[in-house]
């Protein structure tokens, strides 16, 4: 919990760390509040211990850290410390003007992370975020999923924790931590419904992707029961997927899909039935940390809906990730995917969307602005697909909801990436799944279809990108060799771990 809470905006922590400050002395409380603001934390204050307890109970993900005075009239400071620590498992820092070591000892024994003496100086407050990191690391340590990794982590606890916090995209840290975290922390997963995702995209559009911070997005989204952390991890995935799309798009600049391919796109839709679990050992209960996957994304809608979302160059994949996975029914035939009309989240793309849905070919055309790409890549890919399909045993993936199918479009690699969130465990598992997925693909996709996926990025980057990403994602997984896929999945997983972690 603290880990996720602590990752306010992965690249901004400790800025914005949410602190609950409790002190019955108004003078000190006011000063503390100002000091904390100066450290760029987000502060909530109260002069009553009881209120503090209620506030933190109200939403366990509301705060990252609690700073509390020792002497308070309505409740003993140490008791508050115990309760907060036990119930909410938050790091608590004690504050007091008692410098007597026995008070310090008492604080530590009751579970305080730190004990500060009044008057508090700003230098001391500037480092309190370390407690959030440490605590989350500690929790992860406790819940080791893989043997070796935990040891590795524990050795470098402090360093890695800092590093991780500062750069959540660092793979090595993430992989292990995510695995550990996955196994142990059963956090309620947030399902990013299409509506929510639309709102998310709208919010991101509004503030600009560069300025997108979870807090603002959360405020703009105005969705109940959504925490900053949920938004933060979603944003993280979004950004990563975006990066991936951008990279892939660049790589595929010379590829163009023939119009005919577009028609075949409809068969892609048929993929709906296919769960691209591949990257995501989706079937695995692990995926959702054992929790029922709530990907209730109306499948067909999902897919269709995805396109519109793409407008913000949001990789569809975002919908597929640990906890986000869209599970749903197979995608309906393309014709039925006119759902766009429902996805008005991005009006600007409305027309694109409809074209996308209605006539994939049109969409594709729109996307492709460059010269016709060579098809060789996808031919190769097709071949690979065949190879894979031959090697892929039927998996139980099929039993998976089609949300994956959606994933397939949206970048199997990305999916993997998201799947990782669900604690896949081994890349090989993911890999195997991807193979399965491929196999399924194969049945539905024709080489040309695959080729279609390879498209150069075009102007309508947002929509296109999203779409491209979907397709690319698919292609990406197909395009590469098995190794490539595994690697990309690994990468995604690692990235997604961070995100996964962020998922509340």
């Amino acid at each position: 919990m603290t880990v996720e809470q602590g990752i306010e905006a992965v690249d901004q922590f400790p800025v914005g760390m949410r602190v609950l400050a409790v002190d019955d002395d108004h003078t000190c409380l006011r000063i503390l509040e100002t000091l904390l603001h100066r450290c760029q934390y987000h502060v909530t204050t109260t002069d009553k211990a009881q209120t503090a307890l209620e506030l933190s109970r109200e939403n366990k993900n509301k705060f990252d850290l609690v700073i509390s005075d020792v002497d308070m009239p309505d409740m003993d400071g140490f008791k508050l410390l115990e309760l907060v620590g036990l119930e909410m498992d938050l790091p608590v820092i004690k504050l007091s003007s008692h410098s007597d070591p026995k008070y310090v000892m008492k604080g530590v024994k009751h579970g305080a992370c730190d004990y500060l003496l009044k008057p508090v100086r700003i230098e001391e407050l500037k480092n309190i975020w370390q407690h959030v990191v440490r605590k989350s690391k500690f929790k992860k340590m406790k819940s080791v999923v893989t043997n070796g990794e935990s040891e590795g982590n524990s050795d470098q606890n402090g360093v890695r924790a800092n590093r991780k916090r500062k750069d959540p995209l660092e793979e090595e840290d993430e992989e292990e931590e995510e695995q550990q975290e996955r196994g142990n922390e059963k956090k309620p997963r947030v399902i990013w419904t299409r509506e929510m995702h639309n709102k998310f995209l709208a919010a991101v559009d509004h503030v600009g992707i560069k300025n997108a911070v979870p807090k603002k997005i959360l405020e703009l989204m105005d969705v109940d029961n959504l925490t900053r952390d949920n938004v933060a991890s979603h944003l993280q995935k979004f950004r990563l997927a975006l990066k991936k799309i951008t990279n892939e798009a660049k790589q595929q600049v010379n590829m163009a899909a023939a119009n005919s391919h577009f028609m075949q796109m409809s068969s892609l839709k048929g993929l709906g039935g296919f769960h691209h679990h591949s990257p995501i050992p989706l079937g695995s209960s692990q995926f959702h940390g054992g929790a029922a996957t709530t990907r209730h994304y109306p499948s067909n809608r999902t897919f269709a809906g995805m396109f519109p979302h793409v407008s913000s160059s949001l990789p569809r994949n975002l919908h597929n990730d640990g906890g986000y996975m869209l599970q749903g029914t197979p995608f309906p035939p393309l014709e039925n995917l006119h759902i766009n009309s429902n996805n008005k989240a991005f009006p600007s793309f409305a027309s694109q969307q409809s074209s996308l849905l209605v006539a994939p070919s049109l969409v594709l055309e729109g996307h492709q602005q460059s010269s016709s790409p060579s098809y060789s890549p996808h031919l190769e890919i097709n071949k690979r697909l065949e190879d894979w399909s031959n090697n892929i045993p039927q998996s139980n993936v099929h039993s998976e909801p089609d949300a994956l199918g959606w994933n397939m479009f949206g970048n199997s690699t990305n999916q993997t990436y998201f799947c990782r969130d669900t604690d896949f465990g081994s890349s090989s598992a993911a890999h195997a799944d991807s193979l399965q997925m491929k196999q399924q693909h194969e049945n539905i996709f024709s080489p040309m279809t695959v080729a279609q996926l390879l498209r150069s990025s075009s102007a309508n980057e947002g929509l296109f990108m999203g779409q491209q990403k979907l397709e690319d994602g698919f292609m990406a997984s197909d395009a590469g060799s098995l190794d490539d896929i595994v690697n990309s999945m690994m990468t995604q997983e690692q990235s997604s771990r961070v995100l996964g972690r962020r998922l509340a």
Partner: protein, 156 residues
């Protein structure tokens, strides 16, 4: 006008320095001042007014407790002293804080006379400080009204 402003600023500077030299204020007050910025221009005034309100309240509590002749609850008095010590140290009220340290020992020793005396001193001290800081704020206001900027006083 400028000369007037300069004069006021000089007066202000000297006044602040004297407060430090006489032990009314300490480094914590400097810290407090540093937290004041354009975003919170009245931060120091706000905090100090909270502090003085607390003083009134706590001294009142202690006086009441000490009034219960024969059944004085020294723990209660001690708790109030403790709180006053905390807030005075947070605002940089050096003398008040010093008194609180003594006061605490007296409470623990359950020295009634000593406590009463100490309480009287605390009362005088915080009121004196309040008056002095009020003068300081007035000087600031005058400087601003004269078109000048309140100077940052370097204690060291």
């Amino acid at each position: 006008m400028d000369a007037h402003v300069a004069q006021l600023q000089m007066q202000y500077r000297n006044y602040i320095l004297s407060l430090y030299q006489q032990g009314f204020l300490d480094d914590q007050f400097t810290e407090l001042k540093s937290l004041q910025d354009d975003g919170s221009p009245d931060f120091v005034a706000e905090v100090l007014s909270l502090f003085f309100d607390d003083c009134v309240k706590l001294v009142g509590n202690m006086a009441r407790a000490l009034d219960q002749i024969g059944t004085v609850d020294f723990c209660q008095v001690g708790a109030n002293v403790h709180q006053l010590k905390g807030s005075s140290s947070s605002v940089g009220a050096k003398r008040v804080k010093g008194l609180c340290i003594n006061f605490k020992e007296l409470c623990e020793a359950k020295n009634y006379e000593g406590c009463v005396r100490c309480l009287q001193q605390v009362d005088i001290e915080y009121k004196t400080l309040k008056a002095k800081l009020q003068d300081m704020f007035n000087l600031e206001k005058q400087i601003v009204q004269a078109g000048g900027i309140v100077p940052q006083v370097d204690i060291n």
